[in-house]
Symmetry: C2
Subunit: 427 residues, 2 copies
């Protein structure tokens, strides 16, 4: 690959040109039609779309407990151990995110507070095809479980070849309550509206293709959704002591996801960048998904050399990457230079795939620069807050005039009168 | 008004029929055209739309500090005092929402944690016309300020008659950094894309008409947004000791907002319901916005009598109201029966307008049943989380096999190799 150098603006321009454009408009009409059909015809519409898109005729969408148990039994013991180990780490990390409400009784006659309550019913979308990842089931379901969600409903497209055992084993291990073999925009519609056989949920999480993403966006407000997921990306920051073979391996782990994945090195050492380039070529030789990784690197990858650490972090923060690896001397000391990133991997051994599977922090992360305003999926996504308030008559008397003055200023007389009536008879 | 009685299903059906339908489709095409125009032509497009929709030709969108200062000086002292009192309460409440990150170093060789960082730039939309509320400026800006947002940008439609002084005074008091006289879908587009004179923001909050709401929804993902706001609503729970005059006044405070507002009483006492009805008639006689309130009550209001407290709370939770008043004996003891509500007002003196203006909990709340999954606006809306992770080689060695087993199962060989390369040379 070409090594890119230049000032911050040049580098930003160069990277911007690589960004994948998403064509949403074409699919929107199609998706709207599907949503309407499912809203009107329920299960029958879902069945029809499943036959058309997933090539399978289903009489029953829901998997039985026996089917899930059998899949679990058929899963290799080493995989079950790995899933259990992952569960333990994901649980212990997300337990730290658990919030409690508060109550404030500091002011005489006034009690104010906030309850934290679980969202009742949640749908988890697991994409079909090669993206059917058991790890994603854990990452989506465990935070919901910790939040106290009562009913966790998983959907994933039906497959004439059957669903992978490990996926259903992950569902069992994560505590998913029900699994339905439905996918695409029709699955999102079924979860949002509810059908005879598929429960209406309060929130839908999990990634999906453009049809799924579009359906989620259209239905946002009708249900809650997590975020709009784009292609996956990693930025690796390196200095002269960084290990080029490790960096190359981590860039390839990103690039193998799909041809739109972004893998970017920002190095203060040109020598390291050149060695990473060589290591990429070397490692690509034997990589099963080399074709995908090569295309991703060619179209959306970059090996960038910058003058200094300031530029390195400035460029990274402008990208606001989903995954950030800091392979610098004393990595933790750089945490305060991170302004926008989904998940940060510090040092030579916190390889990004460790985070994808096992370490515990969530792997559902904001992509395409949205780490500027979105957060990793977490317990927070499965709760809602409710405020509460109690005043004595005496406490209200003290603030009565201020409330009434503001209400009158806003032209809302009934608001003022609602206070006044508590102190005197109205006309 | 008619007093409604029946079982839970009958009551739910009756209420559902009253729900206002929102026609989004017609405006969507219009809004998309506006967004595109602003994206391409920036300030010039915004200027053109402002002339068309707001009937004013602007050369400069931004208000000067002097203009804001003058407005502040021209605001009546009692209003300034009221705004300052509101600010103090809003601040003290929202300070309790402030989150910190965490670090977990419990496992040998493993450090995991989470940073909490402010969103950098936020846009606050303040609607035009009669809905130009100084209180909303405080409610939107203060939590952002507490979260640590660096740049708070307020937009509100230009008005040939000028903006209300109190609105600009509120902006100054709340710590808004910049005020622009732009509104509608064009303002949302300007904030999402940025123009030469209007800054691109990371998140847009604040209510607006259907054009504003549609623009926000379309741009969701490009920027973050708060929620999709619908008509305002209150549910009052009453028993035989509740004061009918207070309840009627609170229902009218809700009903005067607009003709789509919902004001619902659910009482276990028929006597109280009948007296509320009479009090409504009495109080409506002298209410300036009686015409609006009457229409809202007729189309979307209800006086409901239920058998028992269980039904009372079941019905309320199904509605998932934005505002909930619990005017029952020992109101706080009922908090644990609340599953879905935006903000709860306990007892006879926590009148809803007190919460709108002064008490401190936020008045930007989930509407139309979305309290099932959305929360009141708060400090949480203006931060984002970033996870971090550090492993020693020894710690990674312990989990190496589990990571690689899962990666291989998911067909992501480069993920497995990224771990492997740290322990042995790759082929």
């Amino acid at each position: 690959m070409e090594i890119i150098k230049g000032d911050l603006n040049f580098l930003l321009d160069t990277l911007e040109k690589q960004q994948a454009a998403v064509e949403e408009d074409q699919v929107e009409a199609q998706v709207k039609a599907i949503l309407k059909e499912v809203q009107i015809n329920g299960d029958e519409a879902v069945r029809r779309y499943t036959e058309t898109f997933d090539k399978i005729k289903l009489t029953n969408f829901k998997l039985s407990e026996a089917e899930i148990e059998t899949a679990y039994q058929n899963t290799a013991p080493n995989l079950l151990r790995a899933l259990e180990a992952a569960k333990e780490n994901i649980e212990s990390f997300h337990l730290k995110q658990k919030q409690t409400g508060f109550i404030d009784a500091e002011k005489t006659g006034v009690i104010r507070g906030q309850l934290v309550l679980p969202i009742e019913t949640v749908g988890i979308y697991v994409p079909g095809g090669t993206a059917r990842y058991p790890s994603s089931v854990l990452m989506n379901a465990i935070p919901a479980k910790i939040a106290g969600v009562k009913r966790i409903v998983m959907v994933t497209p039906a497959d004439p070849a059957g669903l992978p055992d490990s996926l259903l084993a992950a569902a069992k291990i994560a505590g998913v309550d029900e699994v339905y073999q439905i996918g695409g925009a029709q699955a999102i519609a079924a979860l949002a509206y509810g059908t005879k056989s598929i429960p209406k949920v309060d929130k839908i999480v999990g990634p999906g293709n453009i049809y799924v993403a579009t359906a989620k966006k259209i239905l946002f407000g009708q249900v809650a959704i997590d975020m709009i997921a784009g292609p996956s990306e990693v930025v690796v920051l390196a200095d002269e002591q960084a290990n080029p073979a490790y960096i190359a391996a981590d860039l390839l782990a990103q690039a193998e996801h799909d041809v739109l994945a972004r893998a970017i090195l920002i190095s203060t050492s040109e020598k390291v960048a050149i060695e990473v380039d060589a290591a990429l070529e070397q490692q690509l030789k034997t990589l099963p998904r080399a074709a995908i990784a090569r295309q991703a690197l060619a179209n959306h990858g970059a090996l960038i050399v910058v003058e200094d650490e300031t530029t390195q972090f400035a460029l990274m923060n402008e990208i606001a990457p989903e995954h950030l690896e800091i392979q610098l001397v004393d990595p933790m000391s750089h945490l305060n230079q991170v302004k926008h990133a989904g998940s940060v991997f510090l040092g030579a051994y916190a390889s990004e795939p460790l985070g994808d599977y096992l370490a515990g922090p969530n792997h559902v992360l904001p992509t395409s620069g949205t780490a500027r305003f979105f957060s990793p999926l977490g317990v927070e996504d499965f709760i809602k807050r409710t405020a509460f308030l109690s005043y004595t008559k005496e406490a209200l008397a003290k603030e009565k005039d201020a409330v009434m003055d503001l209400a009158i200023e806003e032209g809302l007389d009934a608001h003022a009168r609602a206070i006044q009536v508590r102190f005197e008879a109205l006309d």
